[in-house]
């Protein structure tokens, strides 16, 4: 199962700043009544974007200047809370292809990488600067250079981090581990035999 090699992601950004943006915020639980992920795009950040009567709130995600943005910019502990893969699935289907934040909750991070959606961490100071740049000029080109662990915003380059395993997986086209996990079936059975409870 050959996967796309993801060495960089190019696009424009939208800042949804703040710390501890949780998975209930990213997709409220009431939209998880589904047996496939197909229709989740419209529910991304639903309660952040819409009032209870369905009218649009004044929010950057409803600002037409950012409607083509494919890179989400946020704060610390992004994606905390539930393990629901519905969260990164809804962001991906909404059109995001990469996320920049100060830190990520672990389960969210893993779920995103397995979808081929890179999550890179930057310093708070740099994120605030990037957010300011993007707000001033929504057309600013952003490049997530995964290979070289940096982010280029307009004509400025910022140092960015990504875990070694995610770096390896994305740049070598192995971000979804299923094929390798299945290939090792004999070794798996051997470990199972050594466990008294299996």
């Amino acid at each position: 199962m050959a996967l796309e090699i993801i060495t960089e992601v190019k696009g424009t950004g939208v800042p949804v700043m703040g710390d501890d943006i949780d998975t209930d915020r990213i997709i409220p639980a009431r939209f998880m009544k589904c047996v496939t992920f197909d229709g989740l795009a419209e529910y991304a950040f639903f309660d952040v974007r819409f009032n209870e009567d369905g009218s649009e709130k004044t929010h950057i995600l409803n600002d037409k200047r950012f409607s083509e943005a494919s890179i989400l910019i946020s704060g610390a502990n992004f994606g905390c809370g539930s393990s629901r893969e519905h969260a990164p699935q809804s962001l991906y289907r909404y059109g995001f292809r990469g996320i920049l934040a100060e830190s990520f909750a672990e389960i969210f991070f893993g779920n995103s990488i397995t979808l081929g959606m890179p999550c890179m961490t930057l310093s708070r100071e740099n994120l605030n600067e990037i957010a300011a740049t993007v707000k001033t000029d929504p057309e600013t080109a952003i490049v997530l250079d995964i290979e070289n662990r940096k982010v280029i915003v307009g004509d400025k380059t910022y140092a960015a981090e990504i875990t070694d395993s995610a770096h390896e997986g994305l740049t070598e086209g192995r971000w979804d581990p299923i094929a390798e996990l299945i290939d090792n079936g004999d070794a798996v059975d051997k470990v199972a035999e050594g466990l008294s409870y299996v």
Partner: protein, 474 residues
Amino acid sequence: MQEKPKSLFDKVWDAHEVGKLSDGRSQLFIGTHLIHEVTSPQAFGMLRDLNLPVRYPKRTFATVDHIVPTDETHEPYSDSLADAMIKELRKNCLDNDITFFDVHSGMQGIVHIIGPEQGITQPGMTIACGDSHTSTHGAFGAIAFGIGTSQVRDVLASQTLAMSRLKVRRINVDGELSPGVYAKDVILHIIRTLGVNGGIGYAYEYGGELFDNFTLEERMTVCNMSIEGGARCGYVNPDETTYEYLKGRNYAPKDWDRAVEMWSSLRSDPDCEYDDVVNIRAEDILPTVTWGITPGQAIFIDQDIPFPADLPEKDRATAEEALEHMSLTSGTPIAGTRIDVAFLGSCTNGRLSDLQEAARYLKGRKVAKGVKAIVVPGSQVVAKIAEQQGLDKIFREAGFEWRGAGCSMCLAMNPDKLIGNQLCASSSNRNFKGRQGSPTGRTVLMSPLMVIAAAVTGVISDAREVFEIGRTAA
């Protein structure tokens, strides 16, 4: 040559590691896989798309909890989407020969309550489930963590996961809790102290005098909320309390003595090195409640709601946002805040001992006028024993609704939801914006006894005062 001393985490990891993957992660064998109706149907769909079978069907156990209604027992349920999801899980289990604790089995309930209750959860296991509160099972000395749906697929297809080894932080709590202070207060205090993201990259090993003396149910409450502190898993070393709890349960090992011997060998070696150690005194912990929109935004019941300016700079923006959402005022006490709803239940505090302790103090009292109060037992087994003990009567007579088993108002995927900006005194685990079903709804997390105190007074209250607990010694 003696082997290097190891923590339980490392012993269990080493026993389950299949090898290294090409991206540098470990391939980890998952001994026990738990599934439920919300995060598994897509995984079965992926298996069908890839034409893959379930590799170890006997190592996966299923139940319905997230969306199952707690006030109707006949199918089809009035929510057709929920009904479809439950039927989908039933079919997937049948097609793949997976044990399913169905709604009429008498054993259905919240996945993190029935695993331990049935004796499926045991020391030394690796346990995964598509739910972040899987950390609960660590109370038995298992390494247990939440996973996403693609990983549910991975476990179904290979019984393994791609994972990076975690660091281990030992959290010692010595001393004794004062009367009216519970395991829930302990974990809220730990999260408040270490931060909601302090545990990223760590497994939390809880130990010390307090945990040695805790029951398994108290240990589960603490391990359950490890994820709210950013730690994907949390555990307590197994001991006699653990073995006593498991003995005689449905899935307990037949060769009992051998199992106990093996389990005992898995305890962290006394001189093992931890990546970090934190020491907390039990006496310093008081009844704790949240005032904000993260579980770390918590104070003792006798404290005032903080001014953002008094908090560390990095916490101020979230604090401002929290105060606005909660409609609370800095510098005023949280005690006395009016509540609309009282919710007792969830994988954090929906076990028998939670219900018993609540009922003990609730007996003979009434829920305050205007407060909607519901109690949702964590499983059908919990409900049955509680009913045998007459707890349901105590709750009903007080004005609580006595419901069927499920997650209910913890995440409000079923009809149990807050309306508008209602404020809920809740024994659950998350106070995120919109968590309890209304985007403007407000959640205050607390122990079961504090929920009961709020229910009978109609305001957030110090349960020690309401029920005159521990006042004589003063």
